[in-house]
């Protein structure tokens, strides 16, 4: 065995040890981020004979029971709320993406009178405290006949500074020649936008759709204000409602919360690569 091989092997061993160390550290940190959810998971399945809280904390339900999942599913109209949330997402996300793209496109590629004003107007929406807007927005929605309607829940969330900025960055990165070539070929501006620009920024469209999904799925404050008919509640509001009615019944509450987590977590796991890329892309300038 040559000296060099020995050296390489020794370095390999040290490297492996370091790598195990890094993995252990990463795993320990991961625990910090998931432990509250682990307790949620455990409690949702714990039998009445087993304490929810104990020293040391116990994470294994012995035996696991499905009572609480069933309770949560039936104590509030769970399927109905899930369906509502799905409706809000299906209605809101395409609008969210389209409006973000249409607003971002001229802001990124054109210089025209008022572009600065529009840009700062969109930016300013980030700074208005949401609680301040609840009442006047409700009054406006009321005047427009939007209270207690699905549209009333969806529309205010459609324009988002986040979505606009994300797509503005993407459009700004597209070489100007691309649009010009199409224009010289006789394409109108809508056609340039629809057939040239949108396909180019498709990854960013996907990202903004994902974030639109997360925003809409988790929002409960605006639905709480604008809806008075609880059959139109989204699932996030359903969980708030369950918190109210189940009071001290932590097991049912945990089960309900767990159930409400399933769609968004599945969605996240399926698309995590794009989500994480998008979170990065939003700040790249």
């Amino acid at each position: 065995m040559s000296e060099r091989q020995v050296l390489r092997r020794r370095r390999g061993a040290r490297w492996t040890v370091r790598r195990i160390g890094v993995y252990l550290l990463l795993a320990a940190i991961a625990v910090v981020f998931v432990w509250p959810f682990l307790f949620l998971l455990a409690t949702a399945f714990k039998a009445p004979t087993q304490d929810v809280y104990s020293f040391p904390p116990s994470l294994i339900p012995r035996p696991p029971v499905l009572t609480w999942l069933h309770n949560a599913w039936t104590q509030i109209p769970f399927p109905r709320y899930l369906l509502n949330s799905l409706l809000y997402v299906l209605g809101g996300v395409p609008l969210f993406v389209l409006i973000s793209a249409m607003t971002a496109y001229p802001l990124a590629t054109a210089s025209f009178r008022g572009s600065k004003v529009m840009f700062f107007a969109i930016l300013s929406t980030m700074f208005v405290p949401a609680e301040l807007m609840l009442i006047p927005r409700f009054l406006v929605a009321n005047q427009l006949g939007l209270t207690n309607t699905y549209a009333g829940v969806i529309l205010p969330g459609v324009l988002s500074a986040f979505g606009v900025f994300l797509l503005r960055q993407a459009f700004a990165a597209v070489p100007a020649e691309l649009g010009e070539a199409a224009r010289l070929d006789g394409c109108g501006e809508w056609r340039v936008f629809w057939t040239v620009m949108l396909p180019v920024v498709r990854p960013t469209l996907a990202i903004s759709a994902i974030f639109g999904f997360i925003f809409i799925w988790n929002d409960f404050l605006w639905p709480l204000v604008v809806l008075n008919d609880d059959t139109k509640y989204p699932i996030a509001l359903g969980i708030a409602y369950l918190t109210g009615i189940s009071g001290t019944d932590t097991r049912t509450l945990s089960a309900g919360t767990l159930l409400s987590l399933v769609p968004i977590v599945v969605f996240f796991l399926l698309l995590q690569r794009q989500i994480l890329e998008g979170a990065k892309g939003a700040v790249k300038g």
Binding site: F39, M102, E131, E189, T195, L253, S260, K280
Partner: protein, 324 residues
């Protein structure tokens, strides 16, 4: 892009753009100028967004400012009261305390938006099998709703919860600490949950920055004999400054608007010890039904946010000049 004929709905008329005109334009040519014939085209694109902006932001914002000069509530007929709400606000100890709490939150969240996520970003910025999974797990709290988070954190904060188990095991205190009910701990607990939930966002911001740093910079530093710490302070930190600026801007806006976590964890209690500016606005409006007063408080918070944003803009604009 030869497939541009596929879409049917195009209000396009053939454009005749003299190439010379395009060449002559000194600025980068954009569609408002090239198309020339229709200077209002950008506005057509902006129309839907503008309409939503007017209906759901501008109009309500004007109404809110208007309401802040009235005693609007569900019991009173409306009276214009001038600046009375604002005068009352600045004598209202709960409001002043709420502003103080928001300031504490803003400071308390700093480690969760600068040091910790930067460290995590450096940690996950390496080519390891399965590193994507760890990034995803750290990001998980970001995608869950605050309601879910509050229910889950109950297991951490409860009298027989995880934190009290740690406290008892380490022998720090004989009696359990009521994290959400003890005036000494309640605000810190809210900050902890907010911070924990937000770390993933900031980690991603820094990760974006780290991945943009060219590797040869580190190699050069290493050849010049720089140790790991020096490479961090001399290469990483300076290059991360613009990303820290972005993170700080987001942190300030978020911190002043902290509301949902308070609403679901403590309802502003005990004794208003966790009443933040955002929660104050909510409670005046929806618990005391003083819409005019709540609006005035909201307008004050808004003014503070804009002032902070302007300061931040000034500071970071200076720095962005020497960004790669």
């Amino acid at each position: 892009m030869s497939d541009s004929t596929q879409v049917a709905a195009t209000p396009a008329a053939p454009a005749e753009v003299p190439v010379a005109v395009r060449r002559a334009a000194a600025k980068p040519v954009s569609f408002g100028q090239v198309v020339g014939r229709s200077p209002f085209v950008p506005y057509l694109f902006l129309l839907p967004g503008l309409a939503l902006f007017v209906v759901f932001f501008a109009w309500p914002a004007v109404e809110a400012v208007e309401a802040s000069f009235t005693d609007y509530s569900i019991v009173n007929p409306l009276h214009v009261v001038g600046f009375a709400n604002y005068t009352e606000l600045f004598h209202d100890e709960v409001f002043l305390a709420a502003l103080g709490h928001s300031l504490i939150v803003m400071v308390g969240l700093l480690p969760f938006s600068v040091a910790i996520p930067l460290w995590l970003a450096i940690l996950v910025n390496r080519k390891l099998r399965g590193i994507q999974v760890f990034r995803a797990v750290y990001f998980l709290p970001v995608i869950t709703s605050m309601i879910t988070v509050a229910v889950a954190w109950n297991y951490v904060f409860a009298d027989k919860g995880v934190l009290n188990w740690l406290v008892a095991t380490l022998g720090l205190s004989d009696a359990p600490i009521h994290f959400l009910l003890d005036p000494h701990w309640a605000l810190a607990s809210v900050i902890l949950v907010e911070g924990w939930k937000g770390i993933g966002t900031y980690m991603m911001i820094y990760l974006a920055g780290l991945q943009a740093i060219p590797g040869d910079l580190y190699e050069a530093a290493e050849i010049d004999g720089a140790g790991a710490w020096q490479r961090f302070t001399r290469v990483t930190l300076p290059l991360m400054r613009p990303f820290m600026a972005v993170a700080l801007a987001i942190e300030m806006v978020n911190a002043l608007q902290v509301f949902t976590s308070v609403y679901v964890l403590t309802q502003g209690g005990p004794n208003d010890h966790t009443t933040t500016a955002g929660y104050f606005v909510w409670s005046q409006a929806f618990q005391h039904y003083r819409f005019g007063y709540a609006s005035a408080a909201g307008v004050v918070v808004w003014a503070i946010l804009i002032a902070l944003a302007l300061v931040n803009h000034r500071l970071t604009n200076g720095k962005q000049a020497n960004t790669p």
